[in-house]
């Protein structure tokens, strides 16, 4: 039951994030929306990992490994985008 709720929450997050990614014109909001989609996708991976519990395992390690990689990538991407944004917002940045 809780897996269904988590899955639906994940889907909802992906939906909200995609909406934001398409609708918001500013880069910072797009970046935040991307992080929302990411959170939704990671949640869905968590649900997929939980389903292995039916087979008597505590959890499937493969989706968990993918989520860890995904989180690292999303963090690095956010940092890179934030750096670019910060450089762009510096006043008088005209080399």
């Amino acid at each position: 039951m809780s897996a269904t709720i988590l899955g639906l929450t994940g889907a909802l997050l992906v939906g909200i994030g995609l909406f934001g990614l398409i609708v918001h014109p500013t880069a910072l909001r797009k970046l935040l929306a991307f992080n929302l989609v990411g959170a939704g996708v990671f949640l869905i991976f968590g649900v997929v990992a939980r389903r292995a519990a039916a087979a008597g395992l505590p959890g499937d390690p493969v989706p968990q490994a993918i989520v860890i990689t995904g989180i690292v990538v999303a963090f690095a991407a956010t940092a890179l985008a934030a750096t670019l944004l910060a450089r762009l917002s510096e006043p008088g940045e005209q080399p």
């Binding site: 994030g17 880069a27 991307f34 993918i66 890179l80 985008a81």
Partner: protein, 490 residues
């Protein structure tokens, strides 16, 4: 299949070079640190191609001895070997052309360029030899991060804006791709392509997952209508970086789309996905060839031409009707288009970079007198243009002829018309630049070292040489297909 460590080294060697560059920064000129690793990368790619061709079997390595479904394998098949060789060729050409004259100062930007070039090389090699959906994801991320940084390298406001837009598109693409991977894993609990091939069915979940992954990859490959980021990004990167971005970086996500629809879930040509992909490709060819005609700057014109040529790649999906797509001429035509465009576009962007250095600008209407002052660069530009137009003798001619023949055989007349119309439009925009450069004039020309012009000409001649490939399904491109699952370590 042959077990070999070579694919692992092909991914690792550039990363070792990257570490060496970071460690030795400021002590040695970055060119001298990068050069041995570029040579090693070239050697590895040639050895892999040699092994694959001489054994007529793919080279495989299971990392850590773990077999799928738990472990990851690297596998260089016929297409993989060809693309590794293409990457090495373009990288060597770009490196020679980017090699600064001896008195150049070794700034941080220069060191960054070589480090990112090696990072890109590793990511490209991984994308071409990975065999599972997870490794594709890793390769795509490595690729996007180094490509975005290359675009931003120049540090100007335009470059930073272009890089940010590129990054946002790439991130949206990766997250959609990852969602698709999650759905596939939830459905089959397998990520390995060979394993998935045996159990995948065309049910709604699988199709939705593949659609999500394809849309995500389209954003990274800049297929219409997800192309908005490419022209500013490719036009504002330094010319050698643009050459790599246009020639190679957009090809990796395309190859993954191809493998999803050929290796993972082969569908008949009449179903919707191949038709939609080809339809989008056709729009891209016509729309962006016309937009290329209207560009005032040479680099932007070449960037729009890249968008149009990417469209050609997607034409191949409905042109592989047989039960073994890799034996159809559509497959050979598509892969050949990928290779010949890669070489020709690298040569063209490098030529545009040298023209910019010589004249101090790259406005298409003000190139008069260039033909007399810098003939070698202009000849290279013209030969590369020949391949883009699809005139004989050139790789582009053979590729487009194969696609045309496949379209006529499949009765897809609209594809045949688009191939022809795209060629004519390409002729218009190439000749517009050439005509301007051939006009009489005496511009002030800064000297450009001969070896750099020579490297561009050599690349362009390679695109020409591809025109002598036989006009039939090419056995090399079918090596390693259909995918066989690894049962045990031999």
């Amino acid at each position: 299949m042959t077990v070999s460590l070579l694919p692992v080294w092909a991914v690792l060697a550039p990363v070792i070079g990257l570490c060496a560059l970071l460690l030795l920064e400021g002590r040695l000129r970055p060119e001298w640190v990068a050069a041995p690793f570029i040579a090693i990368g070239l050697y590895l790619s040639i050895s892999i191609a040699y092994e694959v061709i001489s054994h007529e079997a793919s080279l495989v390595y299971a990392l850590g001895g773990w077999l799928p479904p738990l472990g990851l394998t690297l596998r260089a098949d016929g297409v993989g070997a060809v693309l590794l060789a293409l990457t090495a060729l373009v990288m060597v050409g770009v490196s020679i052309c980017a090699w600064a004259p001896a008195d150049g100062a070794g700034g941080r930007g220069r060191s960054g360029f070589w480090a990112l070039l090696l990072a890109l090389w590793s990511a490209l090699n991984l994308a071409f030899i990975a065999q599972d959906l997870f490794n594709f994801f890793v390769a795509l991320e490595m690729l996007s991060f180094s490509a975005v940084a290359l675009v931003a390298l120049d540090g100007s406001r335009d470059a930073l804006t272009a890089a940010l837009r590129y990054l946002l598109f790439a991130l949206a693409g990766s997250v959609l791709y990852l969602l698709g991977v999650g759905m596939i894993y939830g459905r089959y609990a397998v990520l390995d392509l060979a394993g998935l091939r045996e159990i995948a069915q065309a049910d709604p979940v699988t199709l939705a997952a593949l659609a999500l992954m394809t849309v995500g990859l389209m954003a990274k490959a800049a297929l219409f209508p997800l192309h908005l980021w490419l022209p500013p990004a490719h036009a504002s990167a330094p010319a050698p970086a643009s050459a790599v971005l246009s020639a190679l970086v957009v090809k990796a996500p395309f190859l993954i789309i191809l493998r999803l629809w050929v290796d993972l879930l082969p569908l008949s040509a009449a179903t919707a996905p191949p038709q939609i992909l080809a339809g989008l490709g056709s729009v891209a060819i016509l729309l962006f060839s016309i937009l290329a005609l209207r560009q005032q700057r040479l680099k932007l014109m070449i960037a729009y031409s890249t968008l149009a040529q990417i469209g050609y790649l997607f034409l191949m999906f409905p042109l592989m009707p047989g039960p073994a797509p890799w034996l159809d001429i559509g497959w050979t035509g598509g892969i050949l288009q990928l290779v010949s465009h890669g070489i020709a576009k690298a040569a063209m962007f490098l030529a545009a970079g040298l023209i910019y250095e010589a004249l101090g600008h790259d406005r298409v209407s003000e190139l008069a007198g260039l033909a007399r002052r810098q003939p070698m660069t202009l000849v290279a530009f013209a030969i590369a243009g020949l391949s883009l137009m699809g005139l004989p003798p050139s790789g582009g001619f053979i590729a487009k002829l194969l696609l045309l023949t496949a379209a006529v055989e499949a009765g897809a007349w609209w594809i045949a018309i688009v191939v022809l119309a795209g060629g004519i439009l390409a002729a218009f925009y190439v000749f517009r630049a050439l005509g301007s450069a051939l006009a009489e004039g005496t511009p002030a020309v800064a000297p450009v070292a001969l070896y750099r012009q020579g490297a561009v000409l050599a690349l362009a001649l390679c695109a020409l040489a591809l025109g002598f490939v036989p006009l039939r399904p090419f056995a090399l491109l079918a090596i390693g297909r259909p995918l066989e699952a690894m049962e045990a370590l031999p």
